[in-house]
Amino acid sequence: MSLLRTGLLALIAAAVTTPVAVMSQTGQPAPSKQASQSLVEYDDQVQRSATNNVDFTGEWAPRFHEDEPERVPGPELGDYLGIPVSDAARLRASAWEASIQTLPEWQCRPHSADYIWRGPSPIRIWKEVDPVSRQVTAWHAEWLRSVDRAIYMDGRPHPSANAPHTWAGFSTGEWDGDVLTIKTTHLKEGYVRRNGLPRSDVATMTEHWMLHNDVLTVATIVNDPVYLTEPFIRTTDYELDLHQWVPPYPCQVVEEVDRPRGVVPHTLPGKNTAVEDFAKRCGLPVEATRGGAETMYPDFREKIGHIISKCIAAQR
């Protein structure tokens, strides 16, 4: 009896250790699928390859330590500093009137996917997981005053150019090391700054999401053949905040201004002298405040000379 029991247990032990023996003979690590056949293991490599060991899930608080006056209270009229705008963008921006926001069509208009990163809003990121394979099929990002934005990770192609354009656009992502790189197309017309600088509906955006412990840095690069002359890059930082909640934003359209039907607030081209007020107030050259690719580069300082700004606490 004792011998029989000893033999039985030895057989069980041999069965359990067989994969080890196979591995030691080949000298190569066993494929992960083989390891996952065990009853006491699961193959977490599937999940790891889908998320690349990086998980952006959580509530992220914006840190307005860059361009706070522009991003929270809002930019000043005529401030295009450091933005590679085209002449067409300047012309259109000079016709812009802030009161356009009072139009019913504009009151509840969400920020587009490219601008919202710089907007005054927290963000919630979550992952959509296939219930069977447990693979991450999409990331979702939701802000205040914006729409749910899906970033598809399942390899689907972008739709036809004739497909509808939306505020969120159509986004697909793939991993580049630990950086999530996202391509977005099919954006509705929007803006690159909330002072009338337009962004066309043929623009595309590349994003790079970088996670460093509890800090999320997102680089957005917008290409717009209509209103930009060079790619427009911005990098924005968020801090993980487990106590944050992105509240609902049930926007309701109301009659804000009693104006005749069909009137759209605007200024005729060349008639808007207010766009130079910012330059005067801050003691900056008007040509600098009109933006353009040249103003993005350090050598532009040689052109404008040494200047001490007069801007101070303008919007506190």
Partner: protein, 265 residues
């Protein structure tokens, strides 16, 4: 009794052996020999880069007005110190480089040149202020030396670099070992007190600077970007961590390198 126990012990030992091997197959706990930081670099940081100033333009491309510390989470002591900014005094005291120090230098517009000084140290030179930063890797002789408390504070401080690791060997059974993920992490201390901005926004001697360097691209048009996420911690003058991220474009056509001296205003 012994005849009954022995086989059980044998099975337990076999199971333990099998379990350990499975972990080893995944590489979960196996000790790794020290690696040469340059040899395992996950990205190529070397080359000439130019800052592209699409953010904070009015604080970076021109000298901000005294008292203009918008966006910086300064506390009361920080605001009081900033309000005493006197560039003439700094110039006279030989402290014109106060706004070119480690917490600020990556925000100062200009070109930078990154090279490997040796297999364990990255070197960053800046046009602006003609500054040099050295990033010795943790574990190297220089890296260990950089953390010595006897070091004198300097504008660029003492930095220790490491490759940011992806994964922590997590999961139910461990998972793969952490690996360099593409980001360079640099922690800098022993920094001579200076300015976060040219207009005297202060940081103190106790400041700890943490930076993450990511190389991105190439984009569809061939652009390669360097993004530097900067986190400044200064309990004396800041209410919380101060975050900025600066971007640089890689120069492909050869540099036009024009080092300039520090200036106080």
């Amino acid at each position: 009794m012994n005849a009954r126990v022995s086989p059980l012990i044998a099975v337990a030992a076999s199971l333990a052996l099998a379990s350990a091997s499975v972990v080893a197959q995944r590489g979960g706990r196996a000790a790794q020999p020290p690696a040469n930081p340059r040899a395992i670099a996950p990205s190529d940081f070397s080359g000439y880069w130019v800052s592209v100033v699409t953010e904070d333009w009015r604080w970076r491309m021109v000298t901000p007005a005294k008292g203009d510390y918008d966006s910086v989470p300064l506390n009361g002591a920080g605001r009081s110190a900033a309000d005493t900014w006197d560039p003439a005094r700094d110039e006279a005291a030989g402290e014109a480089c106060r706004s070119y120090d480690a917490p600020a230098i990556m925000r100062v517009p200009g070109r930078i040149h990154i090279t490997w000084e040796n297999d364990t140290t990255l070197r960053v030179e800046t046009e602006a202020g003609t500054q040099t930063r050295l990033f010795p890797f943790a574990g190297s002789t220089a890296g260990q030396s950089a953390t010595q408390p006897t070091r004198q504070p300097s504008w660029q401080g003492q930095s220790v670099a490491s490759w940011e690791l992806s994964g922590r060997g997590g999961g139910m059974f461990g998972g793969p070992p952490p690996r360099p993920s593409g980001a360079l992490k640099v922690v800098t201390t022993h920094i001579r007190p200076g300015y976060l901005r040219k207009n005297g926004v202060p940081f103190s001697a106790g400041t700890v600077l943490t930076e993450y360097y990511n190389v991105l691209g190439p984009e569809d048009n061939g652009d390669i970007w360097l993004v530097v996420t900067t986190i400044v911690q200064d309990p004396q003058y800041l209410n919380g961590r101060f975050f900025t991220s600066s971007h640089f474009k890689k120069l492909r056509d050869g540099p036009s390198w024009h080092p300039t001296p520090c200036r106080a205003s």
